[in-house]
Symmetry: C2
Subunit: 379 residues, 2 copies
């Protein structure tokens, strides 16, 4: 650090990562401000809440799988501590995941995934269509093959965000409902009120943490070319009384080569995600995106035709060149905890732990596999 | 009437019909109360605003065509008077309608419609796919045949509702933000506040007008078996800058036998409607309904894939056994102006005129073709 112990921490960004960092840092004894004009309103609010490093394992992204698996391993305890600190549920669902496929190319993709995971020592169970429908009767006849991945979980992102805010408040985090314009050592500069003249207001701090998702690139030069916006659209459904109830497990698939996931909620809800486009900061829901999500989801669960469509929304994920998050020092006194792309909730526990460790002047545990520069090279 | 002139009129229902009745009655000198807990929030708010009696002409429904054509004839002047009274636009669009078809059965349906209209002396122009695309370049290649119906118009329902409310207020209508429970000669009984005991409050009047859409059946025994709820779902889109602009004319079609309409708005918006189910008072938007509307609309205008989906909503139309509205006396002192089904906006001018005429003790003009019992048999 800068040669003196950190006392005051300013976190920029009230999504899952930023709020968890703020909570954990405050619980660890730091004095924490959380700066966000509208906490819990961005990509974390739109998200599906998949905690699925295994089902999403991809050859060449072994570092991401290891990081995701390490964070997933921490989720049950993180959820228990969150619920205890918040006094409300964490939103974690422990029912596991089915990865299913429809056509022969999808089945080949499933076989490749199963082979890849076997080589990495992660076992998954292959299931026939009949076995799948026996486990989840709402699966449609188009589903021919699948994998059971019991370890991949999900979290109700909005329940978790609410709990994170409560936990942060009760740990003493001060919420600052303002926009940040720039982060530098010693201070977060706030966006000026257009009606006011004079120098920019600041939140002074010993260490600042940039956890502003896709907007992080605007806040510090070191992040400028590392973080890019990746748009995603998502639907929220609710089983009507006339319809088959949602599955108990998360169901995801390649459907004719396109990825779709269906995450059940405790209240009869079902989240269907997600499209992926590189279109800048675009949060408009397109007709084509909704059409594709419905079409793919209906292939897996035909009964959703009778579900209520309660919401269609778009969010902007923070993408990075190698799909790994950026967690570490940008310069002394300025930390980044961003670039989580599609894995914000999954990587929340390990990210919060790593940031608290860095704030303490230590080296983060459990993320040794990643590039050391990424993990605090400026320290 | 009841032997004395009407002075005080209570209108139940703040949709298009009720608000127009209230405005026109107040402008004609009556003292008018408009009772609705949330005016302009029901089916009129959800509606597409088609003014299309000709494109929707159906053999066996010649009375409805005549009534609709008579009301459409009044729309331009009604719109001018509305805009003048409100001081804001009426929302009327005068660009006309194209009825198009995709497959051979659709084309046969278009030919039948053209023949039917010819026999009734209403000329329409038949167009090839090439002529249609020349008139509206956003029409897709699946569109093979069509009819030009220049007389069928459309209105931006929300602009019109806003203008109707302004016109009503400036004519002196008193808005009573309460629910009606029952209508009887001399009084509209309001729903009790659950927190309050005592006798029901009433709005006393010389004549009450029931214009509560699908809810009208609950308000008077004479309407109980005449009015039934018919659910409809509708989408609202908006052209993004990357997309082809919407057509200038309303475009409607049978698409593989299913009716769909696309109504452009002045601000780049496009309304896509509408499904039709008999499901009681159900205002939930279903996944299957949205899927069908998008699929049919994309057949006609493929460019909408790049449009923003700004809203999906469902409303409940007031259906009648013969698809004709119910306008007339239920008993002395109690009028009905309901049962407009899919034609609320279309029939608003003629309905308002008829009700004012009935309140004056006269016989409504322009609706002579209909059943006399329906048109004031209790008078």
């Amino acid at each position: 650090m800068s040669g003196f112990p950190v006392e005051r921490v300013a976190v920029v960004g009230g999504g899952a990562v930023g709020t968890a960092v703020a909570w954990r840092a405050a619980a660890a004894g730091f004095r924490v401000s959380l700066i966000d004009p509208e906490p819990a309103s961005g990509a974390s609010h739109v998200a599906g809440g998949m905690l699925a490093p295994i089902a999403e394992a991809w050859p060449g992204e072994e570092d991401l799988l290891e990081l995701g698996a390490a964070s997933l391993h921490r989720w049950p305890q993180f959820a228990d501590e969150l619920a205890a600190a918040a006094g409300t549920p964490s939103g974690l669902r422990r029912e596991g995941t089915l990865v299913v496929g429809v056509d022969s190319a999808d089945r080949e993709e499933l076989d490749n995934l199963a082979d890849h995971l076997s080589r990495l020592g992660r076992e998954v169970t292959r299931l026939t269509g009949r076995q799948l429908r026996s486990a989840e009767p709402s699966l449609g006849p188009a589903v021919r093959r699948g994998l059971h991945v019991p370890g991949d979980l999900a979290v109700d992102n909005r329940v978790a965000l609410d709990a994170l805010q409560r936990a942060a408040r009760s740990a003493g985090v001060e919420f600052v409902p303002r926009s940040a314009a720039r982060v530098r050592p010693g201070a977060v500069e706030l966006s000026g009120d257009p009606g006011e003249a004079g120098p920019a207001e600041t939140v002074d701090c010993d260490a600042a943490v940039i956890a502003a998702g896709a907007h992080s690139a605007e806040l510090h030069p070191a992040l400028r070319d590392k973080i890019r916006p990746v748009k995603g659209e998502i639907l929220r459904l609710r089983a009507r009384s006339s319809a088959l109830p949602p599955p108990g497990r998360t169901v995801r698939g390649p459907v004719h080569g396109r990825q779709v996931y269906l995450v059940p909620r405790d209240d009869g809800g079902l989240v269907v995600g997600a499209t992926q486009y590189e279109k800048g900061f675009d949060t408009e829901v397109t007709v084509g995106g909704v059409r594709d999500l419905i079409a793919d989801a209906e292939q897996l669960l035909p009964g959703i035709a009778e579900y209520e469509l309660t919401e269609a929304a778009a969010g902007v994920r923070p993408g990075t060149p190698d799909n790994l998050p950026v967690i570490g020092f940008c310069e002394p006194g300025v930390l980044a905890a961003t670039g989580h792309h599609r894995n914000g909730f999954l990587l929340t526990p390990i990210t919060a732990d790593a940031v608290v460790e860095l704030l303490r002047g230590g080296a983060p545990a459990g993320i040794a596999a990643a590039d050391p520069h990424r993990w605090g090279g400026h320290r």
